[in-house]
Amino acid sequence: MDQTLEDLEQAYREAYDAYAEDRTPENRETYKEAKRAFSDARTYKKQLEELDPDHPRGRSVVLIENGE
């Protein structure tokens, strides 16, 4: 079943809260996996937007590097 970015975000937050409350190895693994899934999906979405000249993110891409 395809998950939306919002689904992945919710899963991440739930996993974070569960691990914060009960620091079992299982909860830790779930939290790490959920965070990875959400973070990767969000990054991919933003990368696509940066390539889209019709998207605000694509019209104005300002990459600020340390020291700039």
Partner: protein, 150 residues
């Protein structure tokens, strides 16, 4: 006096990593971004916290942008791409905002008593929304990224 660069604050990051063991959880949704004008002069080697020189003056506030700033949400610290530590967050977007002269955003650990300064983002120019939507779009590379395997 001016903001000329973005950067991470060494005192805080050293305190995170040394015996001080400053308890900063970058995944927590408790970090805030406060706005400052171009009268401040950041020093990434000595600056320590929100509310402490130079961040005890020059703060930009206004309608729908309070003192202390707003929370960063859906924060993540992860590896992206391989070998690089990335801190990312949801874009900041505040509607019907009115304020003047925002030149930089100070991200700090609001959950800690010390309001420890994590990093400063230089916007590059002043931003003054007038009853408009103020948005900070973080790049796909995140709020900041550290290449640990250059």
């Amino acid at each position: 006096m001016a903001v000329t660069a973005s950067g991470l604050f060494l005192p805080t990051w050293i305190d995170i990593l040394d015996v001080t063991q400053l308890a900063v959880d970058l995944d927590a949704e408790t970090h805030r971004i406060a706005l400052f004008d171009n009268t401040i002069t950041p020093n990434f080697s000595t600056d320590t916290a929100y509310g402490v020189i130079p961040y005890n003056a020059g703060e930009v506030t206004g309608t729908n942008w309070p003192a202390g700033g707003v929370l960063l949400t859906t924060t993540t610290v992860s590896e992206s791409p391989a070998g690089t530590l990335m801190f990312d967050a949801a874009d900041v977007s505040v509607a019907s905002a009115t304020f003047t002269g925002a030149r930089a955003g100070l991200i700090y650990a609001d959950a800690l008593v010390g309001n420890n300064a994590l990093l400063l983002v230089n916007f590059g120019s002043d931003y003054s929304p007038n009853n408009g939507t103020f948005t900070i779009q973080w790049a796909a590379a995140g709020v900041f990224a550290l290449d640990l395997t250059p």
